[in-house]
Amino acid sequence: MGLLKDIKNLLIGMKITGKHLGRHAITIQYPEEKWTMPERSRGIVVLLSDKETGELNCTACMLCARACPTGAIIIDAPRDEVTKKRTLKGFIVDNGLCCFCGLCEEACNFCAIKMTPKYEFSTINKDDLTWDVKKLQEVGRDVDYIDTRKKKTAPAPKPAAATPTGDAPIPTPVANPGEEKKEG
């Protein structure tokens, strides 16, 4: 009887594989078809520009560079002796070091840095992975984002109402860095 049972169980296995033989593939052909990445997907780091003026949102506050666990962000922003204000000179992201943790995005209070769902940036030269401010801004031009900065001129739109993706009503990224700002 054991033999018959074994044969039956072997046939069950064949049945399962045979059943799948007629089904459609669930994989996709990558370069032709592409997966739509979720809104929150953490891919390339970009610098965001103001939607109206087209200038960088970055104020060189160094919060992202400090939050980065791998030291992938290097900001060159000398402090003005008189006004004590920093001016952004260089902003380098070493994608070879970046671990795509998203801490920089959370640390930023000015909607200046963001991880985008873009992911195709492989190169044959390792040096090409180090992106400077121009490249970062260029890649980030078409990135849509919710401007949570407090505008002095126009009445600020409620961040939750302006959410295009219908995200849950708690925009967490602002909650924590706000506190960091106070201390920093």
Binding site: G13, M14, H20, L21, G22, A25, I26
Partner: protein, 355 residues
């Protein structure tokens, strides 16, 4: 001197070639040599095409079982993927270990390749489509395909690699022990056909629709067919009996040190062997080229590919046996069963309880 070719449709071509060459006035010996050379090249090309097709087919089947696409890039559904792969392997550097046993290492894939192709001398592809209808056909096939073991053992030894050696040893042990039940199940068929000739075996299965096929001659036919199928899987070193090249244990077994075209020879030989055992199964059990309406060679090819398909389904469904379980399965289960079956068949033949 006429070529030893039975009557057939395609063979007319060779007859014609022979006649043409003879009429030109070439010496007889040259006519024969050229005819055979053309025949050999033709068979080689045919088998290469079959092997390449099987590789592609297996990749497609495995992909669809696993809900993937498989090769899709080159041609319609990647139909010439294997050709490109073969070309790639041809161009690849032939990496050789310094400590190899040079002649053994070199000749192993050649022997494997040749042994795989030799069997086709005596396989009837259709009514009359046989290179040479040897009167000891099946015996010859079993004899030459056994060369494969030697080649695998050579590959294992010549590589001077422990994994390869283990693989070679395993393959020798496995093939030798599975040869016994295989022959016992083949003998069951020979008992009824009364001949070792492949053509005669097929002819003995004509008539009565499909009920004259050995696989339907209950009770011994199905048992012999199943045991043959199992042993055939083992002979071709395919999962669940692929211990000689068990990827996850021995990395790749005997062919771990081979690269480039030498590896391709092993690889293609495996698929040719798979086709061989399926063709034998078709000839012996599934009525060979017998079938209505369609040309005989289509029936033969269809049945063979069906058996190949079953072997592929085995491979993509089952885990691998362990080496000692494999031996136990052969000696403690298959050998008694096949011999009991043989005795049963003999007794039924004696008592004339068969059709």
């Amino acid at each position: 001197m006429t070529p030893i070719i039975a009557s057939g449709e395609l063979i007319v071509l060779f007859r014609w070639l022979h006649a043409q060459l003879a009429s030109v006035g070439l010496p007889d010996i040259w006519v024969t040599v050229i005819t055979y050379a053309v025949l050999g090249v033709f068979m080689f090309a045919l088998l290469a095409v079959i092997a390449l097709f099987l590789v592609w087919w297996e990749r497609k089947i495995s992909a669809h079982i696993q809900q993937r696409f498989g090769p899709m890039r080159v041609g319609w559904h990647g139909w010439y993927q294997t050709i490109m792969d073969a070309l790639k392997l041809l161009q690849k550097e032939d990496i050789r270990v310094d400590t190899r046993d040079k002649p053994v290492f070199f000749w192993a894939p050649v022997l494997c390749f040749v042994a795989a192709f030799l069997a086709y001398v005596s396989i009837p592809f259709g009514d009359g489509l046989i290179v040479s209808d040897l009167n000891i056909g099946i015996l010859y096939i079993i004899a030459v395909t056994t060369f494969t073991i030697i080649s695998l053992l050579m590959a294992g030894w010549g590589s001077n690699n422990k994994y390869a050696l283990l693989g070679g040893m395993r393959s020798a042990a496995q093939v030798v022990s599975y040869e016994v039940p295989m022959i016992a199940s083949i003998l069951t068929v020979i008992l009824f056909s009364g001949s070792l000739s492949m053509v005669k075996i097929v002819e003995s299965q004509t008539g009565h629709g499909i009920f004259n096929w050995f696989v339907f001659r209950v009770p011994f036919g199905p048992i012999a067919f199943l045991t043959y199928l199992i042993t055939a899987t083992a002979e071709t070193n395919r999962t669940p009996f692929d211990i000689p090249e068990a990827e996850q244990e021995l990395v790749a077994g005997y062919n771990v040190e081979y690269s480039g075209m030498k590896f391709a020879m092993f690889f293609l030989a495996e698929f040719v062997n798979m086709f061989t055992v399926s063709a034998i199964a078709t000839t012996l059990f599934l009525g060979g080229w017998n079938g209505p309406f369609l040309p005989s060679w289509i029936w033969f090819l269809g049945k063979t590919l069906f058996v190949v398909f079953i072997l592929m389904l085995f491979r993509w469904t089952y885990p691998r046996l362990r080496v000692d379980q494999l031996m136990e399965f052969s000696w403690k289960f298959l050998v008694p069963v096949t011999f009991a079956n043989l005795i049963l068949a003999g007794w039924m033949k004696y008592a004339k309880w068969h059709w």
